[in-house]
Symmetry: C2
Subunit: 145 residues, 2 copies
């Protein structure tokens, strides 16, 4: 029923829970898993407030991309450990929700699985803003874990 | 991986799509399906604007409940037609999102599947308000179809 499951992954606990649920679904449906880590290009102003300290400001984007790659590879390893057969990891830059939905369309994913929180949300009642936007924008089913 | 899937159902096209997806999931996981139709007690003011015309205002709630029961039974029939093994249909009154989440907890459902639209939402970008609230309130995974 699912052939290709997209798991947007930001390294949060919620993201890991979503990934593990996605692997369970992949195992019962035979789907492959595509992990996507989205990073935003930080302006210098944003960079001055972020935890990333680049000695060379020109390498800021490289540092962000490199970190995103590590996060995506961690997810791939985790998925494999949980028994996923086929896992591919991708990194993209852009506005998170739109980038995720565009990726799902371009890669013909038929399910998106993501954490309810993480990815810039607040604790408690409100659904994470990225989760909410993806669920609203996506034309394929979205499983919020 | 899922034992009991809750499908809140309001009779909308989105609700039917969600139900069919839930049946597919039930078939690969062996889960049972519980359909829930939630109706709201209409005040007389609301009733005067609704499509339901009760000759006896005192029977307003009965009429709402009866209609909800028909909607839930329709969903049960549809699920069976799509090959679901075990389907039970329920009717509750209350605030939709909170009633759905409370039901899922009380019945130990481990997945909620619902339509992105329908249940009082607007077309387009925004996720249906009920779908959004359920996804935010629920402690179990929510699949928005």
């Amino acid at each position: 029923m699912f052939n290709r499951i997209l798991v947007p992954f930001d390294g949060s606990v919620g993201g890991e829970q979503a990934l593990i649920k996605a692997v369970e679904l992949a195992k019962v449906t035979g789907a492959e898993i595509q992990v996507l880590t989205v990073y935003r290009h930080h302006s210098m102003l944003e960079a001055s407030f972020s935890m990333v300290r680049a000695s060379d400001p020109g390498n800021m984007d490289d540092a962000m991309r490199s970190h995103a790659r590590e996060v995506a590879e961690h997810a791939k390893k985790l998925a494999k450990e949980h028994g996923a057969e086929t896992v591919r990891a991708f990194v993209k830059t852009g506005q998170p929700a739109r980038t995720i939905v565009r990726f799902a369309n371009e890669h013909e994913c038929d399910l998106i699985v993501l954490g309810a929180r993480g990815m810039g949300s607040v604790e408690g009642y409100l659904l994470g803003s990225v989760s909410h936007k993806v669920t609203g924008l996506s034309r394929v089913p979205v499983l919020v874990v």
